[in-house]
């Protein structure tokens, strides 16, 4: 088994999170991560920020957004009378 160094692991962390690595690479990464606290921490933190930005509670639609959109669309939908 070839051994990955930390730099090589960092380059693959994003693909690993996306499950877009080959099974062989996955084994290599997991072997490294099991032994390297730094890389494991990096993976954890990258994974967590990815989870965090997707958190629905971060967003609020402005009040009345939908109503204003529909009003504007209604004008358009009524307008081009073909």
């Amino acid at each position: 088994m070839m051994r990955l160094d930390c730099h090589e692991v960092w380059l693959e962390i994003s693909n690993y999170i996306d499950d877009a690595v080959t099974p062989a690479m996955r084994d290599e990464l997991e072997a490294h991560l099991a032994q390297c606290r730094n890389c494991a921490a990096l993976l954890d933190s990258v994974h967590n920020v990815v989870v965090l930005i997707a958190d629905d509670r971060r967003f609020e639609l402005p009040v009345g957004f939908s109503e204003r959109l529909h009003l504007r669309l209604a004008l358009e939908l009524a307008g081009d009378g073909s």
């Binding site: 693909n15 996306d18 606290r37 494991a40 990096l42 994974h47 990815v50 930005i53 997707a54 639609l61």
Partner: protein
């Protein structure tokens, strides 16, 4: 140490494919009001995509409206080769970009190195911090991640918004951004790493003087 549970696969919700196809056919056939049902699942996603790129609520709302209008006007050109949601988000990103470039005459990002770099060294190499699971649930943490995202260059905000917030696949993200798959992967890698670095840096600033340990458990 907790291992991250991978992979992350946000699941975008939309109408069932058959329903979407039926609505598209009806609209093109003159039943225009079906457009409201077609776009209902995407109102929020279109707005937040525009918002993450523009960082300004009134601009984002206007861009979202424009994107929906453009989608309606261009519906006959949508041939169903991609998903409707991908097509719609592509329009949204393009509208938001145009607006962004208008408000920021000279883009600082054009001065940044291109994506063909593959090197990465985590910020604060000596300071490995994890983000504890319980922090994920705090409002303060959510505000901090929003700030970190806002601090990234536009192209990174775009890709994170499409892939990680809207849950587009890598292939769909490539289509929405008109990029190759490998460019998407490289840009996504850099964007996620920078987001992580920015988030950690913000955490340090806000925890300094309060808690010496920051994220450390």
């Amino acid at each position: 140490m907790e291992q991250a549970s991978v992979p992350v696969q946000p699941s975008p919700t939309g109408l069932p494919d058959e329903r979407e196809k039926l609505l598209l056919a009806k609209i093109l056939n003159g039943e225009r009001d079906c457009f409201y049902e077609l776009i209902a699942p995407y109102e929020r996603r279109v707005y937040l995509t525009a918002y993450e790129i523009l960082r300004n609520s009134p601009d984002a709302e206007e861009v979202a409206q424009e994107a929906f209008l453009k989608a309606y006007r261009g519906l006959s050109k949508f041939r169903g080769e991609s998903k409707f949601s991908t097509w719609l988000l592509r329009i949204t990103v393009n509208e938001a970009r145009m607006r962004w470039r208008k408000v920021r005459e000279v883009s600082l990002e054009s001065l940044l190195p291109e994506d063909d770099e593959t090197g990465y060294t985590p910020l604060q190499l000596a300071d490995w911090r994890e983000i504890p699971g319980e922090a994920l649930d705090k409002r303060e943490t959510r505000e901090q991640i929003s700030q970190a995202l806002a601090a990234l260059p536009e192209k990174y905000r775009e890709i994170l918004t499409l892939r990680d917030i809207n849950g587009l696949s890598v292939a769909e993200t490539a289509e929405a951004l008109d990029l190759g798959i490998s460019n998407v992967k490289t840009r996504l890698f850099r964007a996620r790493m920078q987001l992580r670095d920015a988030f950690i840096a913000l955490g340090q600033n806000t925890t300094q003087g309060k808690k010496k340990t920051g994220w450390l458990r």
